[in-house]
Symmetry: C2
Amino acid sequence: MKSSSYNSLKLISEKFSVSPTTVSRVLSGQAKKYRISPETEKAIKDFAIRENFTPNPIAKGLRLKKTLTIGLVIPDIANPFFAGIASQVVNVARTHGYSIVLCDSEENPALEQQSVELLWARQVDGMILCAVGQTADYLVRYAREKRPLVLVDRVFPDLGLPYVSADNFSGAKAATDYLLDNGHRRIACLQGMCGTAPSKARVSGYTTALHARGVPFDPRLVAGDSFGEQSGYLDTKLLLRAAPDITAIFAMSNLLALGALRALREENRAVPDDISVVAFDDQPYLAHLSPPLTTVAQPHLEMGAAAVKLLLDHMRNPANAMSSGLLLPTSLIIRKSVRKISQPTTQ
Amino acid sequence: MKSSSYNSLKLISEKFSVSPTTVSRVLSGQAKKYRISPETEKAIKDFAIRENFTPNPIAKGLRLKKTLTIGLVIPDIANPFFAGIASQVVNVARTHGYSIVLCDSEENPALEQQSVELLWARQVDGMILCAVGQTADYLVRYAREKRPLVLVDRVFPDLGLPYVSADNFSGAKAATDYLLDNGHRRIACLQGMCGTAPSKARVSGYTTALHARGVPFDPRLVAGDSFGEQSGYLDTKLLLRAAPDITAIFAMSNLLALGALRALREENRAVPDDISVVAFDDQPYLAHLSPPLTTVAQPHLEMGAAAVKLLLDHMRNPANAMSSGLLLPTSLIIRKSVRKISQPTTQ
DNA sequence: ATGAAAGCGCTAACAA
DNA sequence: TTGTTAGCGCTTTCAT
């Protein structure tokens, strides 16, 4: 129960009249290897368990230059999408003996960079980063130095860093196809922050779907420059004025969808009767909205888990850094926010 | 840009032909104190900035027995309530120079204890714990040892540990009063995990409100033993059979409310026309539900911030441990899930 | 089968 | 005004 009494190998070694080396070897499971007498081994082990002793990881970290620690930088841990990623990161890291040092960049690129540097300074063994911003040039240095760093969601394929992302292109294409199947032709698109990989991929999925069906692409139907609720609200209002003939809105984040819903309600446009809505990124509550929202689900839990695995892999084998980008499949969750307005076109 | 070249005081000291001590003093802002020549000071400082050098915190931690690190143990980081707490904890900790090591206990008391012990072993300077479970006897030891540890939300006042919680009693009382004001008399109550402080306080607020109005307390109207969605769903179903005459449900967590809504929808009971619902703990999406839910908002962001402040205070001044429990006020957010069914009784 | 000694990078007494 | 030394707690050569 008293844990403060025996808190170093030295103290324990004295108690058993052996050297700290021996204790260290026992406690790091190297007893066999060094043929330490079974009695000493058992005595020390039992004692350690009884007194709840663990060799000080700070000292260990200093000596071994390994801290069994992974840095996680997230734009906003209160956002359920990132919270989900974090939960998986924490859990799979733990099963591999790693702890997570969490930083929140508050959607601020400067703070993000600062956090990344802080974490390296803190000697984390590796890092998982959900970047914000359109660029992240400060990362090239870490890429060059081949530090174990994996990017999640907001990805920069050009940097040569491993990454994990949802297959945003296919997800957006599937959603747009679904809308087209339901007879929609004037489909507005509420995009996220321009220039970011997810936003580009999603818009590209949207236009690709349009082209494939021969539906003319109207740039005026693409609005927005942020993933937030406020932007969804504002841009929906504008869209409704600029293009009153739209029959559907594809909101490329769930916050965007929430904002759109709010605007639509204010403008007395019923969903889906007047306007259909498809969101991006599933969250449990979307099923409880009125109406329950059809959305493109991202496997965010898997993304978190995959990121840790990729990272651990790169930590063990720095050789295969630069390699792998992972694109995880999305799935279209059909609920009740899309109205069929005519026969589907031929498939 | 090359950060790996000069990565110790020693190297730098050699470069400038001074001792590591001098460099250490400069870099820890003690130049004045030791009257180090302004030139050396400036040279070293500039160099450190240019080369992006920070003294290794691991070595520092070993030497100083301080890691500038706070442990945070949370039952489920994917739960928006806890995610909100975490975001504040991370942010205010950062402004004070502390980093957060995050553990997720997955609502599992054994894992929680393990996490707490891991964090102490990792030499965190202090810890913030959102406990799960009805008891947490393993904590008495840390209370006795006067370790800097503050409890949040799921609180154990008897342990003599500082804590931060919402004023669950008053919140529940206010919600019940509101229901009573709207003419409800048969009010069911979906409680959380029995025996936990928040659940006890909330039920107690509920019964107190009832008594104050002379409304008889019917124990059959109190159901549930978990804060989860599933429990809300199931117990609402049971409640509807056991007490068909209820006109309102007070769901003591937002997940419970979601579950109740799902059950009600299945049973074709309209909210609020057939049954009124009040939830506990506000989340952004509650406003977007159908109907928008009336709820008792907990100041969870403030709770996170307050926890860190309390912790830092106790870290600086271990004397006032055992002292302070903080109860933060809740607020009733009135939306559209309660129907007025008669004149309010006289206040 | 076990130990002594060195050193990871840092800071704080104690010189000077 | 600056440096020397010791030591935080650990692991790892190298000896024995």
